[in-house]
Amino acid sequence: MARDSQAALVALNRFGFGARGGASGDFNNAASDPRGFVVADLSRPNGALLEVPGLLSTPELGKQVFDYQFEVQQARNAARAAQSTASETPPATDARPVERRNLSLPSAAKAIAGNDSPMQAQTADDAKAATAPGATMQPPANSPRPPAEPPNIIQKTFRAEALARLQRGVAAECGFVERLVVFWSNHFCISANKGALARMWSGSFEREAIRPHVLGRFADMLKAVEQHPAMLFFLDNQQSLGPDSRAGLNRKRGLNENLAREIMELHTLGVGGGYSQDDVTSFARIITGWTFAGRNGRLGPPGSFVFNANAHQPGAQQVLGKTYAQEGIAQGEAVLADIARHPSTAKFIAAKFARHFVADDPPPALVAKLQDAFTKTGGDLRALAVALVESGEAWQAPLTKMRSPYEFLIASGRLLARNPEDPGRYLGGLNLLGQPLWSPAGPNGFPDTSAAWAAPEGMKLRLDISAQLAAQIGDRLDSRDLLALVAGDAASPETRRTIERAESRQQALALLLMAPEFQRR
């Protein structure tokens, strides 16, 4: 097959994470068979799974958090007992205005992290654990806190999970499967900022609920996600009780419709997908009892998904005009199975998929093809991915999308052939560029438009990051060679000239990393 450099750019950048440097030969391989290069990524057995020694299961991680929180709580109680014997006068009146003018770190962090369980974030250390996405939270030299504090189990786990994901992204051959993982992980996002459990579970959630299904069935991924403790915690379902359930009557608490609404609005049908407020409320009743076992293990192994019949709203419910009379967990599973194959879901997923990979306003013909593939195969996500790669539109549409910060940093790591050994620098870069790992601002995930990532301060920050990286390692690299690895013959004459005329190797590398060929996909 003739070499096609422009198609190689599409294969590497639109579908993958960019060409790897060194002797990978990625650009040449992609140029000689662009489609084959992408499709090959789909045929590696278990290629989406991430099994790394030391990464634990969700229940194992849950147990570690519970134990850690218990210790913190004990220490706090002990400290409080000591304090209350030491000071007799309650500091009620003098503290208030001061507190408001100058909120303390733990309280502010807690407010944003949304730590709502009384088990969490009761101490400064714990609050920090709940919000710190890695090395950027190292105490500064002038911190009043002792700077030598070792990272706690939550920080350590988050960093280990992040590192495993980063290494996979940097090393992957084409990276199409990893791109699919990132897409689905953002579609079914949780936020580590929700609290200690969410931070602890953000990696295991992706490994257990997303990765096994990115080339499987949408319905299976949906079920795995909505029954995963991390999602139940993120969208408050572990707190939702059927108003007429035994627990609801005893504890005079009731429904929380957060998860039910976001499943319909964000995970499946989409806004305008034909559901009503009544459907949301009924569905919320149906999934009462979907929770995870707590520290005491009364309902099951701590940190595992359980169905708590005591919290489940009894009786039949109507959703989208259909009556669900099943008992127990089967009722909610039946609803999930139905909305997974609802036409609105196929439409919503097809449009979002095309928008992510091809264009902010994707060609309608492409969206129709994807919707058709999704519907005809009963939501087979491998078939969806293949339909995208086999479409003409995905190869013809100009490369107008902007690489997200994550894609940009991973692509840089790949080109420079540097296997990450410490996640801190990546995590710091992601924070700075507005895409903190596993921590979007809301359940709708990170934005997926070019405008979102090509904002003025974002471009300035990318340049600063590129310049700093180049200052550190650029003297050992020839960016003219790197440009050939990135874009081959498809590099524009202007980019080539800009790099050739750079005043130093460092400057040349910074310019290469910022070139349209490297930023657009």
Binding site: A111, R425, L432, P456
Partner: protein
């Protein structure tokens, strides 16, 4: 990969601000509406609270006989510890907002209650689209009402100072009228020469990136030297104050922007919302601090300023099963600033009896938020009713601008 080395050493990253979910953006032109006649140089700031603020928990109708029952354990009380600050005999302000209470007493702040946009469903994202786009329904995300209001104003000099934190300008300020942004960071700057070379490359190959980059560079230059460093570990409430402080500093300058927008995230209090203390209280404290930062930072210009605080919709009148509130309808809008005709509760109170609730669950809206904003835009900048009804808030002619909001 070796990047962002300094971030591992310094806490002054954008992280805190992003965690706080705070952002600000401003118009790129100096408008020509400084009113020489009475030495007025109006400022207008919109603060969007994303996630849906519980208006009944912020300005509580403690005089309504049904309020305490509905809001249950998290209801504010007129007396006792952490009592609400009574604004009149009926409404009490959340105790986490002493600065707003002070402004209210000084007649520089007002509350609009039982207010809502035209949106009547309960999706955050659609609700924010309507709130910020100014269109009657969702899905119109190309431009915001504030941007279209700017287009109606006569252009003046180009401003190169403004501040934006967050990946994009909020929708309310997005559109044809150019806006600008900047983010404080601890990262070493790329050399000017490198930036210029890149700019030239973009000019030839990618004009959109050229425009974004040049704006980013100009703003950085302008704001460099500002005291924008967050306190170590600052998050949440502190981030709100920080963004407001930076915005106020830039907007106070004679050649600074006159019109800006901020967005604060995190108001979606489904569980354990908290009453006088707790999660919502922390957020309100941050908002209160941000208003105080504007007051002190704008200095002499505070007297020409109107700040409007608005949210996409309210929350259920009755607390849910998890001591929080779910998505609702009617809520509050706050006005603050020296130019506000304040010290007033502006409401046509619908009552909280079951029959009076919207769909038997939410505070029924009796005031259209667009009327409030139209009133401010008209009084502050002289934007005509026709433009407001057609261009700024399309298809809104029946919604008349509220009169007398500005001194």
């Amino acid at each position: 990969m070796v990047c962002c080395e300094s971030l591992t050493m310094q806490p002054t990253s954008r992280r805190a601000l992003l965690l706080g979910g705070a952002s600000f953006a401003a118009w790129a032109y100096l408008p020509k509406f400084a009113r020489a006649a009475d030495d007025r140089d109006p400022r207008f700031i919109v603060i969007i609270l994303r996630g849906a603020l519980d208006g009944l928990a912020t300005v509580a109708p403690v005089g309504d006989p049904d309020y305490a029952g509905l809001h249950g354990a998290i209801a504010l009380r007129p007396d006792g510890p952490n009592a609400a600050v009574m604004l009149d005999t009926f409404f009490g302000l959340h105790p986490a907002m002493p600065e707003f209470a002070r402004m209210y007493r000084a007649k520089q702040a007002a509350v609009v209650h039982a207010v809502a946009t035209s949106y009547r469903d309960r999706s955050h994202f659609d609700g924010q689209d309507v709130l910020e786009s100014g269109f009657p329904g969702p899905g119109r995300v190309q431009s915001g009402w504030l941007n279209r209001a700017l287009e109606a104003l006569p252009k003046g000099e180009r401003v190169v100072s403004a501040l934006a934190v967050g990946p994009t300008a909020p929708l309310v300020l997005r559109g044809a009228a150019p806006t600008v942004g900047w983010a404080p960071t601890a990262l070493p700057q790329a050399a000017d020469d490198t930036a210029m070379r890149l700019f030239e490359l973009y000019q030839h190959r990618d004009p959109a990136l050229a425009s974004a980059l040049t704006q980013g560079l100009q703003l950085e230059k302008q704001a460099r030297g500002e005291d924008m460093k967050p306190k170590p570990g600052a998050g949440g409430a502190a981030a709100m104050r920080l963004v407001a402080r930076g915005a106020a500093k830039l907007m106070a300058a004679d050649d600074g922007p006159r019109i800006g927008a901020l967005a604060f995230d995190g108001w979606d209090t489904h569980a354990n919302e908290g009453g006088p203390v707790g999660r919502l209280a922390q957020l309100l404290g941050g908002l209160d601090g941000a208003l105080a930062e504007f007051e002190s930072g704008l200095g002499a210009r505070w007297r020409d300023t109107v700040i409007v605080v608005a949210t996409e919709f309210g929350r259920t009148a009755r607390i849910n099963g998890t001591s929080g509130t779910d998505h609702g309808t009617g809520t509050i809008a706050l006005l603050a600033g020296g130019a506000v005709n304040g010290g007033r509760m502006l409401t046509d109170w619908p009552g909280l009896k079951p029959a009076n609730l919207y769909q038997a669950r939410d505070l029924a809206p009796t005031t259209d938020l667009r009327a409030v904003i139209k009133g401010v835009l008209h009084d502050q900048f002289g934007i005509g009713e026709r433009v407001l009804a057609d261009a700024v808030f399309p298809d809104s002619a029946p919604v008349k601008p509220m009169k007398g909001l500005v001194v």
